[in-house]
């Protein structure tokens, strides 16, 4: 159908379930300190996936950070020695291992629509009682970031801006000044959102249909297998 063809489909469609699998796989693998070749493979794979899902800029940004961290790692091991070097070394290494996890997270959150989430959860045979709140949670993330921007502006007008210093010197106060308005505004939005979606039949007893084309394709199976393998073998290599 013409209308739907206009949709800018990503070059390589991957299912939300695959994205979940990748997030867990990469997470477990990274925390078990994989050898460098595996780390690099994972990194390249995920940045490719990001690029193929219209997230070129994110992909490039992370690649640059990754390369800088590699360079740092190399410089440190070559030029400096002693306790300080060891500390720096492990910090840089740890940071680098976190990168693929962030990227897999971005892949999941930023390239999946709410209805894809709902449908994928259904396919995972999660109960309806869980699917609706989970989907609403994903729906909420961009809203929170929108609210957060205006709250941060509001704080700056009052001279209680968020900075590294304010977080270190007055962590509780900073937390309070951010959380109170954030919770209040999101609570209102959540209430209105719930009313609006119920009034549109979200909790109907009939089985929901979907216009999304959600199914596991060959690339999904490959990626899921990859995720399982790196998660399981991570500690052994």
């Amino acid at each position: 159908m013409q209308l739907m063809e206009a949709a800018q489909q990503p070059i390589l469609r991957i299912d939300a379930r695959t994205k979940f699998a990748l997030l867990f796989g990469v997470g477990i693998s990274s925390l078990t300190f994989p050898p460098f070749w595996l780390e690099a493979t994972t990194f390249i794979l995920i940045s490719l996936l990001l690029a193929l899902n219209k997230r070129h800029r994110t992909s490039v940004k992370f690649t640059v950070i990754f390369l800088i961290m590699l360079l740092l790692d190399w410089l440190v091991s070559w030029k400096v020695s002693g306790g300080f070097a060891a500390l720096l070394f492990s910090l840089v290494r740890l940071g680098r291992l976190m990168l693929p996890i962030f990227m897999a997270g971005i892949l999941l959150m930023k390239t999946t629509s709410v209805s894809e989430f709902m449908l994928s959860f259904e396919r995972m045979h999660l109960p309806n009682k869980l699917i609706i709140p989970l989907s609403v949670m994903f729906r909420f993330i961009p809203t929170i970031s929108e609210e957060w921007h205006s709250i941060r502006d509001a704080m700056r007008f009052r001279g209680i801006g968020i900075s590294v210093r304010s977080v270190l010197t007055k962590p509780m106060m900073t937390l309070e000044y951010t959380m109170v308005p954030l919770l209040m505004s999101t609570a209102t939005i959540a209430d209105e959102l719930a009313a609006a979606s119920l009034s549109r039949g979200l909790d109907a007893d009939t089985k929901r249909t979907s216009i999304e084309d959600v199914r596991l394709r060959p690339q999904d199976y490959l990626l899921i297998v990859f995720s399982i393998v790196i998660a399981v073998t991570g500690g052994m290599l």
Partner: protein, 495 residues
């Protein structure tokens, strides 16, 4: 057909004997358009909720009487069932979308009914054609303007094919051009024989659509007017009912001229340029604003009004200078001196009591001054209340009081009157005028012609990221801004 018989409702959280609506009797025929109007809190939103079933299925409370739609009692049916023949559009575009992209949103209602995929796609296409939405499909909801969001909201309800549309203050977050888009949508719905129930206090855009106006006061239906009857009222009578002007052409007849007082100081913008990811979104060669003015900043959504405000108060990075009486004021200094009253005041209330709020970040010695400001703003008796328990207007006062206590000199208001009824709008006017005496500059971003006429002293028209015009609101200026609003409407209609 909608029938309300002896309906009385009290929200669960409301104190005893405070009824939201009392003894409502109302019948709406198929294909009829009924507008519920009255002051804020008169019960019009409650009636819309009674019809779409959110009362009693979502908002709980004590309900008596009968509400039935097409002969079936609302309280005995599930919400999902009701949603098949009653569609609802809400006030706040940012919280009525379940999806984050437009096409999924159009499909949402149909998907919930379990319609087969082919049918859903057909209905999306139908709705998109009906409301000329093809340019809006597959877009992120967050990129759309308020007017576009309301069109998507109407279309996504339309896709379910309900006979009845219930709209709760659908225009309150819209600019004049978007209101006309909404009017178009409503006219189309009416011409298809849909029943419309609209709660609203801005009536001018509904005059061509409505069959009956139902005027509510304190939860009761006081009178029902036909279109002719309401048109025969004088502007004074209309505002006495708490309603907004029926005809934008008449708005200045009931306001006194604003006095200009030149203080001798001025703000000057020189070569100001602000970029967002490489594109210049605001460019001002040179602009001089006399200090002490209340400037209405007008222009389309996305014309650069908020960017201008952001640059002025120092939270947006820009090149070029902002000068006060020949001395440049740095971003940092301006940020210290300025304060923005946001559209959602909840974003800027941080503490546990009104007193703490105004005392935030000011020294102990200023306590007395803070108390006097609280008194002056008429919120001294609320000093120990939690800011979030207050009404919208009171919150606005607290925010302004905290700005005054912190010695802010540049005050910016972001659409302070959106969604306000006539009286609240006048209160906001009085407040802004009062406070402007202590400020060097008051800037009001607004789409509200009635408010501009009643409160502002100059108009700054921003268009396509630059200053289109800046003029004082004397009698010529008034004629000009009015023309601007009316012409601007026509040119919008051609689009």
């Amino acid at each position: 057909m909608i029938e309300l018989k002896h309906v009385t409702f009290q929200y669960e959280s409301a104190p005893e004997h405070v009824y939201s609506v009392r003894n409502i009797n109302l019948t709406v025929q198929r294909g009829e358009c009924v507008v519920l109007c009255g002051r804020s809190g008169c019960g019009k939103t409650t009636i819309t909720r009674l019809i779409n079933g959110l009362i009693p299925h979502y908002y709980e409370g004590k309900l008596s009487g009968h509400v039935s739609v097409n002969g079936a009692e609302i309280k005995n049916q599930q919400l999902s069932k009701i949603s098949q023949y009653v569609g609802s559009v809400f006030q706040n575009p940012r919280s009525q979308f379940f999806n984050v992209d437009t096409t999924s949103e159009l499909a949402f209602g149909c998907e919930n009914q379990g319609l087969p995929k082919g049918d859903v796609l057909e209905r999306i296409e139908e709705a998109a054609n009906r409301f000329s939405l093809s340019g809006l499909l597959n877009r992120s909801i967050f990129e759309l303007s308020g007017g576009e969001k309301q069109r998507i909201a109407c279309a996504s309800v339309y896709a379910v094919h309900p006979d009845i549309f219930v709209l709760d203050e659908p225009s309150s977050n819209l600019d004049p051009a978007s209101i006309l888009q909404l009017k178009d949508v409503l006219l189309k719905l009416k011409s298809e024989g849909k029943t419309l129930v609209i709660s609203e206090h801005r009536l001018y855009y509904l005059l061509d659509i409505v069959d009956r106006f139902v005027w509510l006061d304190q939860g009761e239906i006081r009178s029902v007017y036909t279109r002719e009857e309401i048109l025969s009222f004088s502007p004074l009578q209309i505002s006495a009912m708490g309603l907004r002007a029926l005809d934008l052409n008449q708005v200045d007849l009931r306001t006194q001229p604003n006095r200009q007082k030149y203080s001798g100081h001025e703000f000057a913008f020189q070569n100001l340029d602000c970029k967002v990811s490489g594109h210049s979104v605001l460019h001002i060669e040179s602009l001089r604003i006399p200090a002490g003015e209340i400037v209405a900043v007008i222009g389309h959504n996305g014309a650069g009004k908020s960017t201008l405000a952001g640059c002025l108060c120092g939270i947006r990075k820009h090149t070029g200078k902002i000068v006060y009486d020949k001395t440049e004021r740095s971003n940092k200094k301006r940020l210290k001196e300025s304060y923005m009253v946001m559209q959602d005041v909840n974003h800027q209330l941080f503490t546990e009591s009104v007193r703490d709020e105004v005392m935030l970040n000011i020294s102990e010695e200023q306590t007395e001054q803070a108390e006097s400001i609280l008194k002056q703003m008429g919120i001294a008796e609320l000093a120990n209340c939690h800011p979030l328990t207050l009404s919208g207007g009171q919150k606005q006062r607290v925010a302004i009081a905290s700005a005054l206590c912190a010695g802010k000199k540049i005050l910016i208001y972001d659409e302070p009157t959106s969604g306000l009824d006539y009286e609240s709008m006048r209160c906001a006017c009085a407040l802004i005028r009062e406070v402007s005496r202590q400020a060097e500059l008051s800037l009001v971003i607004t789409h509200d012609l009635e408010f501009i006429m009643a409160c502002c002293t100059c108009v700054l028209h921003i268009d396509h990221g630059t200053v289109k015009a800046f003029y004082p609101l004397d009698s010529r200026g008034k004629a000009r801004v009015k023309e601007e609003f009316l012409l601007h409407k026509e040119s919008e209609e051609e689009l």
